[in-house]
């Protein structure tokens, strides 16, 4: 797989986890977060990318992260609106081909899809997994 230039916005648990994984797999990663303390979530062994301290809803911050060169942007802050805006700006203003956003509020998913955004909802994913486990438990119980 070719090495990608990836921007991860938000260095909380999810953002840092993704940044670690991507960096470890040989991709060039830049992480953006408003709070530099959050960079401590990055693993010193796995992560060899760059860190940018700043608000990603300000285009200048994205420029600092060299968004013009990015192959992929993942918006994973804890605020849905920030994620959506950053993803939209990356796609429409900076022409990033692949953008993904984490969203909590599943009611807005339809809207985001209309905007042409790829979204991942932790709540839907967790729901599906629980649902699967519930059925697995029920099936196992039924066989007894």
């Amino acid at each position: 797989m070719k090495s990608l230039y990836v921007i991860v916005v938000g260095c909380g648990r999810l953002g840092a986890h993704l940044a670690n994984l991507l960096s470890q797999s040989g991709h060039r990663v830049v992480v953006i977060d408003r709070d530099k303390e959050s960079f401590s979530n990055l693993s010193s062994e796995a992560f060899s990318g760059f860190k940018v301290e700043g608000d990603a809803s300000e285009p200048e911050t994205l420029r600092q992260a060299k968004i013009g060169q990015a192959d992929l942007l993942i918006a994973a802050t804890r605020e849905d609106n920030v994620n959506i805006m950053v993803a939209l700006v990356a796609k429409k203003s900076f022409g990033v081909k692949n953008v993904m956003a984490r969203v909590y509020d599943t009611r807005r998913e339809g809207l985001y899809r209309e905007m042409g955004l790829e979204t991942v909802s932790p709540i839907l994913l967790a729901g599906e997994e629980f649902f699967r486990l519930v059925y697995k438990a029920l099936d196992a119980g039924g066989e007894k």
Binding site: S57, E58, E60, E79, N81, M85, K92, S93, D105, R107
Partner: protein, 220 residues
């Protein structure tokens, strides 16, 4: 007009007063319970408590019937999403966002959202004040798109001593008349402007600033 105003703080309060003073029907959406009860006590507006970028709250605020939604919170992302939802979900024709970062103005406009940057606005007002001494008799025409101004040329200015044809004057602006020592001239390409001349400038709003800059040397 039915207007929905999203946000809080003093700017919103005074904005609301201005809208109410012009007999608009106003709903304010604010996410702070305390501020909501304050606003409810002081303004003749409907107050809705909640997140203005939430579809349900916008619907409750009457977005379906609204003529204008103005999102003016301190968060650009919240303003953007509120406007997007108002536009795409409720078909509100005029949506305007306050942009806190002037850099976002163009981006919002690219998404079909009217954008006002307070800092850019204030900067341009101050600039206008600086040239005000030299610029008088402002007559708006053509629904306010055209402005006719009289400009007194003083000090040194970029166009001084040059023939009009030589100057890269904005397309949508015209020096219509030059008044010089009691003489009135309709200028041609070979007219040279000098200190003490008074000119009538006819300009579309987009070109006015640039034209004034060439004539006064201010606000570069």
């Amino acid at each position: 007009m039915k207007i929905i105003l999203i946000g809080g703080g003093r700017p919103i309060y005074f904005l609301a007063q201005a809208f109410l003073g012009k007999d608009h029907e106003l709903t304010i959406v604010n996410s702070d319970p305390l501020e909501c009860s304050h606003l409810a006590g002081r303004l003749k507006a409907r107050i809705v408590l909640g997140d203005g970028s939430d579809q349900t709250i916008l619907e409750e605020a009457g977005a379906r019937m609204a003529d204008l939604v103005l999102a003016a919170t301190p968060s650009d992302p919240d303003n953007l999403i509120a406007c997007q939802i108002a536009q795409s979900r409720f078909g509100v024709r005029r949506v305007v966002a306050l942009v806190n970062d002037p850099d976002n103005k163009e981006i919002f406009e690219g998404m079909g959202i009217g954008a006002i940057s307070t800092s850019l606005r204030v900067a341009s007002l101050i600039e206008q004040q600086l040239t005000f001494d030299q610029v008088t008799n402002l007559i708006p025409a053509g629904d306010g798109k055209v402005m006719i101004s009289e400009v007194t040329l003083a000090e040194s200015f970029p166009m001084e001593g040059k023939r009009i044809a030589e100057i890269d004057f904005p397309r949508d602006a015209l020096i219509a008349v030059v008044m010089r020592e009691g003489e009135t001239i309709i200028p041609r390409g070979d007219t040279i402007l000098g200190r003490g001349d008074r000119v009538l400038l006819v300009a579309l709003s987009g070109s006015r600033e640039q034209a004034l800059r060439l004539l006064t040397g201010h606000g570069a």
